[in-house]
């Protein structure tokens, strides 16, 4: 690369084309430099500031022992606030004191230091290169081609001994097929989230929005596994006047029960719960990214970043009048992924 540049370095000495650098501005005295009273006053201020810090520390220690949060909102707030404010004064006293000291009492004459080019000087470079060359010569690596190849291969390969077990293990069983399965199957009862009470069809009034989970045992609902299963099985069920439905898609004509319709609550965009139901417009809105789905029209997307409608859960009632699933979802729920349709 060429060393020539079109950059003109300003000439400090000045000529017709360039002004002269006037040099460092004249030093201006501060009040404390000339007036002994101001000097004394500044010193007193610094002393007061550091004293505030000492008092702050004492108050902080007192607050820690004296104010015990009692678990109430007001109690915890008082404890946090008093302790925090005391710490604030303890720290601010030191900080402001030190800076004030530096600004008013320490010398404010500017100092000039020379810089040197960042690159090492030529003779240093020469020595460095020579040393490296000597080392290479000593090792004989240049002459021993096979050795070089083997060393490089060994060094490149050995990280695999750590990386492969690590990566392989953190992925669990890698059974990504679980994305397709949920707890819903034929005959699973719909229950209220989070209480788990089964839902009677007659209890769902028009205009209702019901957050639904599949029926499982109470013990299962206390297990960690449940959280992951719930994350896939969440359903939002609403009831509207059957006359408000647009014609159902082919094969889904009997997926509703008397105006009650149920959709997966997991957004097809990136998987937030699409929990926000507007009763009058029959729109479901995702509070995360505002994808809007029309419940009356098969949960088709009417606005926002989602593309696909929410998967529908086919429902009916059992002999006791409770709502049950006719079957599981007929497609993977939640956000899209590469092999979703395969």
């Amino acid at each position: 690369m060429s060393k020539t540049t079109d950059v003109t370095v300003p000439h400090p000495e000045g000529d017709l084309e360039h002004f002269q650098d006037p040099g460092i501005p004249e030093h201006r005295h501060r009040m404390a430099d000339t007036d002994p009273k101001a000097d004394k006053r500044a010193e007193r201020q610094v002393v007061v500031l550091f004293t505030i810090s000492v008092i702050g520390t004492i108050v902080a220690l007192w607050a820690y022992f004296a104010i015990r949060p009692d678990g109430t909102t007001a109690g915890v707030r008082t404890s946090t606030m008093v302790l925090g404010l005391a710490i604030f004064f303890a720290l601010a006293g030191i900080g402001v004191g030190a800076i004030h000291w530096a600004k008013t009492l320490m010398s404010d004459h500017e100092v000039v230091e020379d810089r040197h080019a960042t690159r090492s000087p030529d003779d240093v470079r020469e020595i460095a290169v020579q040393k490296l060359a000597d080392g290479i010569k000593d090792s004989g690596i240049g002459r021993r081609g096979v050795l070089k190849g083997v060393v490089v291969s060994a060094l490149a390969l050995f990280p695999l001994t750590i990386a492969v077990p690590l990566i392989s293990s953190v992925g669990g069983d890698w059974n990504v097929g679980t994305f397709r399965t949920t707890l819903w199957k034929k005959g699973t009862r719909l229950t209220y989230d989070p209480t788990g009470r089964p839902i009677k069809a007659s209890d769902v009034t028009i205009g209702s929005a019901v957050h639904v989970i599949p029926e499982v045992t109470d013990e299962y609902r206390q297990s960690g596994e449940w959280i992951s299963e719930k994350a896939k099985a969440l359903v939002l069920m609403v009831r509207l006047d059957p006359r408000d439905f647009k014609p159902f898609a082919k094969g889904k004509e009997n997926w509703t029960y008397d105006g009650i319709i149920a959709f997966s609550k997991i957004c097809t965009h990136v998987g937030c719960p699409v929990a926000l139901y507007e009763q009058q417009t029959h729109h479901l809105l995702c509070p995360c990214h505002q994808s809007t789905f029309d419940v009356a029209d098969g949960a088709k997307v009417v606005f926002g970043p989602a593309k696909r409608p929410l998967p529908q859960l086919p429902i009916t009632v059992d002999s006791e009048g409770y709502l049950v699933a006719q079957d599981g979802f007929d497609e993977p729920i939640g956000p899209s992924y590469w092999e979703r349709l395969r």
């Binding site: 501060r30 909102t73 609403v238």
Partner: protein, 259 residues
């Protein structure tokens, strides 16, 4: 005392006295009235008066017999709770068209509201106005309420009930100052965009728990100023304005030459 005695015969004295009397009566009424007005005593006369009020104030939109029009829904079967909610929060009668009815100073007195409610309730069975017992948050379990609220309400009203945006300019209002009775009624009747949460979905006890949770929120935050309880966005704004603002201010002070 002497001065007061001297002014007793001032010519404005009767006016001042009258004003004082009015104030006291008003105050006493304000304290006592809600309890009285809500007492269930839907006499035929109340229904009649309610009908007249309806025809004067509501019939233009809801139809002469509350059967609904193109502009407004039928009110048959919505129940007294819906009327009390809509009218006592000032949402109805509606002032102007907009994405949704707004709260405003109430247009009808407690008495008129209950008469109107009695009339609507007489048209078809619907949810009744909850009793004081049902909406007494101090009897509820705020932890259970918090769980119910998170699952059913927080997506619109925000985690602490500060409100949130819906589509097309509609919004879920803040619940900070909503009365316990109105909170209960809203769940029960599902006004406007809000879905209905009937007693099978959220039981009366659970509704009271929700009220208990929302009332616990009114104690403020254990951490200090709530910053509107809007979450990370308002926290970010405060971090920039207060945090970085103060620190840059300090930096400027450090960099400035002392006088």
């Amino acid at each position: 005392m002497k001065a007061l005695a001297a002014r007793r015969h001032h010519r404005f004295a009767p006016v001042v006295l009258l004003l004082l009397a009015l104030l006291v009566t008003g105050g006493v009424y304000a304290v006592l009235a809600p309890g009285q007005a809500r007492a269930d005593s839907a006499s035929t006369q109340d229904i009649e008066t309610g009908k007249k009020l309806f025809q004067a104030n509501c019939a233009t939109c809801h139809g002469l017999d509350a059967q609904g029009t193109d502009n407004a829904p039928s009110l048959i079967g919505v129940g007294a709770a819906a009327v009390d909610f809509q009218v006592s929060t000032g949402r109805m009668p509606m002032a102007m068209d907009g994405p949704q009815a707004q709260t405003k100073p109430r247009q009808m007195t407690e008495e008129q509201t209950s008469q109107l409610a009695a009339y609507i309730a007489s048209l078809g069975a619907g949810p009744a106005i909850p009793t004081d017992e049902q909406v007494d948050g101090s009897k509820g379990n705020p932890a259970n309420g918090a769980e119910i609220f998170r699952t059913n309400c927080a997506m619109c009203h925000n985690a602490t009930g500060q409100g949130g945006a819906l589509s097309e300019g509609k919004y879920a209002p803040s619940l900070e100052r909503t009365s316990a009775r109105n909170i209960y009624q809203a769940m029960l009747t599902g006004p406007q965009s809000m879905p209905v949460f009937n007693d099978a979905n959220i039981t009366p006890d659970e509704k009271r728990d929700v009220i208990a949770y929302l009332e616990a929120q009114r104690e403020g935050s254990a951490g200090g100023a709530t910053l509107g309880s809007l979450g990370p966005v308002s926290e970010g704004v405060w971090a920039w304005v207060v945090g970085l603002g103060l620190l840059i201010g300090a930096a400027v002070w450090i960099g400035a030459k002392s006088s």
